[in-house]
């Protein structure tokens, strides 16, 4: 695939992804606000500690990741260049947010219950930890790509 074709394809896809990620972020935030609001309105927060801890942590973590991803894709859709330092930083931030999200539900549940408690029997959620590690790895690829991009720009 030619470099210009690849840039055009990346740009096309990134524009769609910017919008999609922003919508997902808003949906996640909406779900958190509606869920927590409903439990306060019906005074069921104390009964639904587990659901609330899960909703608050997972919802806000996913919303944060979606908004950061939307920011990355917006940058890519403007220039068509995926390998930039700001994209690398933003990817590392997503990895960090997901890492925090791997134990946040249990921290919130423990706070709500007033004692140490876990949702699924383990303090760290593997389902969040693995994507966090994977995205960190991809951030390293992008970091190397950014270096190649700089080299390419300087050569031109």
């Amino acid at each position: 695939m030619k470099k210009t074709t690849a840039i055009a394809k990346i740009q096309e896809n990134s524009t769609g992804m910017t919008v999609l990620m922003a919508i997902i972020g808003l949906l996640c935030l909406g779900a958190v606000i509606l869920g927590v609001g409903d439990s306060f309105y019906h005074s069921t927060f104390a009964e639904k500690k587990e659901e609330m801890a899960q909703l608050l942590s997972t919802g806000t973590v996913f919303a944060a990741c979606a908004f950061i991803a939307s920011y990355i894709f917006r940058g890519i859709s403007r220039t068509g260049i995926p390998f930039t330092e700001s994209a690398v930083k933003a990817m590392k931030l997503i990895a960090e947010v997901l890492f925090a999200g791997s134990f946040l539900p249990n921290v919130l549940l423990s706070l709500f219950s007033g004692k140490y408690a876990t949702l699924h029997g383990s303090f760290i959620e593997i389902a969040m930890l693995i994507p966090s590690i994977l995205i960190f790895c991809f951030a390293q690829f992008f970091s190397y790509g950014a270096m190649l991009q700089k080299e390419s720009d300087e050569t031109v």
Binding site: M1, K2, K3, A6, I7, K9, I10, N13, S14, G16, M17, L20, I24, P82, F83, S113, G114, K115, I133, F136, C137, Q140, F141, S143, Y144, G145, M147, L148, Q149, E151, S152, T155
Partner: protein, 225 residues
């Protein structure tokens, strides 16, 4: 000397390889254990286990008669921790119910009423249902093992690569991507086509273009040198 980023990628590749090997060992142990369970469940005779009956229990806790330490243990759920439950299972020839109610008469008195009832129990049907469950579990585990094998190859390539955009790594990455298809199929069967599946496909397509672009940059860089 290798570029600092490439050295980090090599280290990540080595670490990933170790994690994948551990994961493979766990999955293989899981396949063996699940297969043994499936065989045991499939060969359960119809009248091997017969259960009928009911049970009623009342647990009364009077905190005022407890010392401060025991009281604290009750409050934090360390001493008595009975979650309220309302289960009614009526499938596969088995009818079973369990009801746990927590009554708080005042600040220091708690009563737990536990009601259990089993009217029908079909051992053969239970065995068949459990065997089907085990076989589904084995399928998922085998799909995971296949992905792990390709994941290990990718980790191996990353551990030795001079660039994450070299042909060998890209080939292994594509193969790893294809090995995830069984998971996608299971997800489609269970949940149908959802927003997340569509998003996953879009991200994969985007990554293919991004990595192709990276390979072009790498080629340019190599030709310049």
């Amino acid at each position: 000397m290798k570029n600092a980023n490439v050295s980090k990628i090599n280290t990540l590749g080595k670490v990933s390889k170790v994690i994948v090997v551990i994961l493979m060992a766990v999955i293989i142990a899981g396949i063996v254990a699940t297969s043994l369970s499936a065989i045991t469940m499939a060969t359960l005779p119809e009248d091997a286990i017969q259960i009928t009956g009911s049970a009623e229990t009342e647990i009364v806790v009077d905190e005022s008669k407890l010392g401060s330490l025991a009281g604290a243990m009750i409050k934090t759920g360390t001493l008595v921790n009975i979650p309220t439950t309302n289960i009614h299972f009526d499938q596969f020839g088995t009818d079973f119910s369990l009801n746990v109610i927590e009554n708080k008469t005042d600040d220091t008195h708690y009563t737990y009423n536990i009601d259990g009832d089993i009217t029908k129990f079909n051992c053969k049907a239970f065995g068949i249902a459990a065997t089907i469950g085990c076989l589904a579990g084995i399928l998922i585990l085998v799909a995971s093992l296949v992905s792990c094998i390709f994941g290990k190859r990718l980790a191996d390539a990353l551990a030795k690569c001079d660039s994450p955009f070299e042909d060998n790594v890209l080939k292994k990455m594509k193969a790893f991507g294809f090995s995830l298809i069984p998971f996608a199929a299971v997800s489609l069967i269970i949940k149908g086509v959802g927003l997340l599946t569509a998003l996953f496909v879009l991200v994969i397509i985007l990554f293919i273009f991004v990595f192709n672009y990276g390979a072009e940059l790498q080629k340019e860089s190599d030709e310049t040198v």
